[in-house]
């Protein structure tokens, strides 16, 4: 199994809603990542979990809250988002937290109304 699975694939939410994005991998990888990608732009790193501990927060606003319940799961909790937060949110994993051979999921396309 070489997949990173993300749900949902599409999400539309209002600025007062609370929602969560989910990511799962069963490759035994110990590092998991959240990236944000705007249209026609490269992915931008948001968070890194290494061995289930948050190791990097790229100065992401607190309306985005990551959670890593175990080594296979990664969540991103969303609250009080702004329309400019609309983007493709990508989850990735790698064997260790050394940024080598990241495997990406297909992403969640988020629209904030």
């Amino acid at each position: 199994d070489t997949e990173v699975t993300q749900t949902p694939k599409h999400l539309v939410m209002g600025m007062t809603n609370k929602k969560s994005l989910k990511c799962e991998q069963h490759m035994g990888h110990r590092a998991m990542y959240w990236y944000k990608q705007k249209a026609k732009k490269p992915p931008e790193l948001m968070f890194v979990y290494s061995y289930e501990k948050l190791s990097i927060n790229e100065s992401v606003p607190s309306r985005f809250s990551p959670e890593c319940p175990n080594s296979s799961l990664l969540n991103l909790h969303l609250h009080a988002l702004q329309p400019e937060d609309s983007a493709l949110y990508l989850c990735a994993s790698s064997r260790t937290g050394d940024n080598e051979k990241l495997f990406f999921g297909s992403g969640t396309q988020l629209s904030v109304l």
Partner: protein, 112 residues
């Protein structure tokens, strides 16, 4: 500062021809590089990687070349097929750094 840039934002080639996608980087501390392919509606897909102690690495129909002297990375795709149409990103990992830095991407279009 660090940057990973691409010489061409778009590239169109005929089916069956070879494609070369270029990438420039400015940080000599980078010691690992990756090429990703991203199709519409999908996440980036790992293609090939190379470490700074190598100057060439081959995969299936793809070759990555690294020229550390001029800080240049390229991806060669042989005998391009319609399924090769996508945006291609290079990414670099600086030794001791904590994140990959992605280039801006090149859109490759294969003409029949």
């Amino acid at each position: 500062g660090e940057s990973v840039g691409l010489h061409l934002p778009t590239l169109s080639v005929q089916e069956g021809d070879n494609s070369i996608i270029n990438c420039a980087y400015s940080n000599s501390a980078s010691d690992y590089f990756i090429w990703y392919k991203q199709e519409s509606g999908k996440g980036p897909q790992f293609i090939i990687d190379i470490r700074s102690n190598m100057d060439k690495r081959q995969g299936q129909r793809v070759t990555v070349l690294l020229n550390k002297t001029v800080k240049h990375l390229s991806l060669q795709i042989a005998a391009t097929q319609p399924g090769d149409s996508a945006v291609y990103f290079c990414a670099e990992n600086q030794k001791g750094a904590q994140k990959l830095v992605f280039g801006q991407g090149t859109r490759l279009t294969i003409n029949p």
